[in-house]
Symmetry: C2
Subunit: 338 residues, 2 copies
Amino acid sequence: MHKLSNAPDRRTTLKLMLATTAVGLSGVAAHGQADPLPSWNEGVTKQAITAFVARVTALDGPGFVPVDQRVATFDNDGTLWIEQPMYVQMAFILDRVRALAPQNSDWKGKQPFQAVLDGDMEALAASGEKGLVELMAVTHAGMTPEEFHEIVSDWLATARHPRFKRPYIELVYQPMLELLAYLRANGFKTFIASGGGIEFMRPWAERVYGIPPEQVVGSSIKTRFEMRDGRPTLFRLPEINFIDDKAGKPVGINQHIGRRPIAAFGNSDGDLEMLQWTTMSGGVRFGLIVHHTDPEREYAYDRQSHVGQLDKALDAAALNKWTVVDIKDDWKRVFAFQ
Amino acid sequence: MHKLSNAPDRRTTLKLMLATTAVGLSGVAAHGQADPLPSWNEGVTKQAITAFVARVTALDGPGFVPVDQRVATFDNDGTLWIEQPMYVQMAFILDRVRALAPQNSDWKGKQPFQAVLDGDMEALAASGEKGLVELMAVTHAGMTPEEFHEIVSDWLATARHPRFKRPYIELVYQPMLELLAYLRANGFKTFIASGGGIEFMRPWAERVYGIPPEQVVGSSIKTRFEMRDGRPTLFRLPEINFIDDKAGKPVGINQHIGRRPIAAFGNSDGDLEMLQWTTMSGGVRFGLIVHHTDPEREYAYDRQSHVGQLDKALDAAALNKWTVVDIKDDWKRVFAFQ
């Protein structure tokens, strides 16, 4: 079988070629001819990142990892973009409920809807997970994925962050954009692995992060295939399919990617298991936690926060020698506009 | 936001460059300087394939599709490799049950296990879906994904097809390997979308088809994350997670890829909905069905077959102008060794 027996050789050659290119690129960076991470201050954090990349791309080194195994997974909320004062997807849900209320007069006086319409966050919190699932159902289900993408895109075009008064897609962390590009330039395939909705991220992740839809892993609701007026259609159902958070992250990553990442990036306890599964597997591995320490330029929160709580994972970081980004010290700027 | 506002322009340029390269490549093929599909006989089938590729890659043509949207999905059993006299994964299950029987003395006299040990396919069939799920549980669950990959790889290295007496990975269709490579050379991203087990295909799909694990969509059982002796581990559970067949194929493709394919390739009624969803969506689209018509070199089966039944999808092919491969007429050779 000519084709088959030759294939591994050809692929090995290609891998070596790609690896050489990658080493070349990181070599340029290491020699300071061009800094691939200009928004990162010099220091141990930046060094830890570049040292890891240098090790896995050094063709004759003991830590070399072939290009096809250079998988890196990134949490989204609080790791790639802002998550305070509430998850962006929650802001979307609240806005959608308000927009849909005129056509749903039965929501009046009914929780959790009335709480949203009153802006009564306490009553909303009291409606618990059951309330949240009801809000998800009316805002995320009952349409095709294409229609949902359009709703999300339209909302993102007009919604503004309450403090920064800017579109949410401008509130992505510039140092992390540089990190994504740096890893890709070194042969990494970059994936999102988020507790957020997979179809909430797909409409803009490629444009904003350079991550295509097929490299987005996230939580999902079920969809059903059906013929509608003779047209084959997917329809989004008000039923949870998968929660890609905490112990679900390794499960979602394995289901979607089928390889264990060699680098993982997160910022909260929701990322703990992904970081453990990625780094505690032998070989040269990299775990990083973004610690929000800068109330001036962004926010400061960790162990006591309701959104993006970072408690167990911060302890685990010390134990497992994960790199912890101190935003205040490590980032020259947080957002591109700063 | 310098980085963001520049990104689309850079990407557009890159797309145009890639598209130009792709046109260049297909141009070479069209002018006969090198035939990318040497195992395909000249005729309407081959012409339909090359005409479609020419249309979607023609930069200034009305059918042009940007590279990032050139997604093609392939069924596996009966489309990329052999599925007669039984699905390869079924042969694996039967062999595994026989191999595990000595350590499971309680299987004696108990169905569906005794049927497997007796080679009594009638009794096995009588155990129905419930029996199959029991066999799946003991052969596919109870280990990590890595352990399962090793079991599959070991089995593929020794198992032989009953008629051809060759390893199953040699019983892949040479014309389809060429088609995969041809599409990739023209900027397509090729995915498997199979009713078979996702983790049954991942260990060898990259080596045999050039399709990496993250581009394999298939049926799956659930996995659970747990710490075992202080090591983070995924564990395969005896519980169905998702069946990627029939109306499940568009669902699985959307979940995994997040884009609607522009070309889909199948061979049975299990591929009907994938083909409908792909082709009945406006724009230049391509659907292809492999019709097994060659009992000499492979097998001949369609409307009445228990494995890979092709009935409704054959009617739909005529209705929707899908290309139907007549293996006997259209393929110069079926397997590379022929």
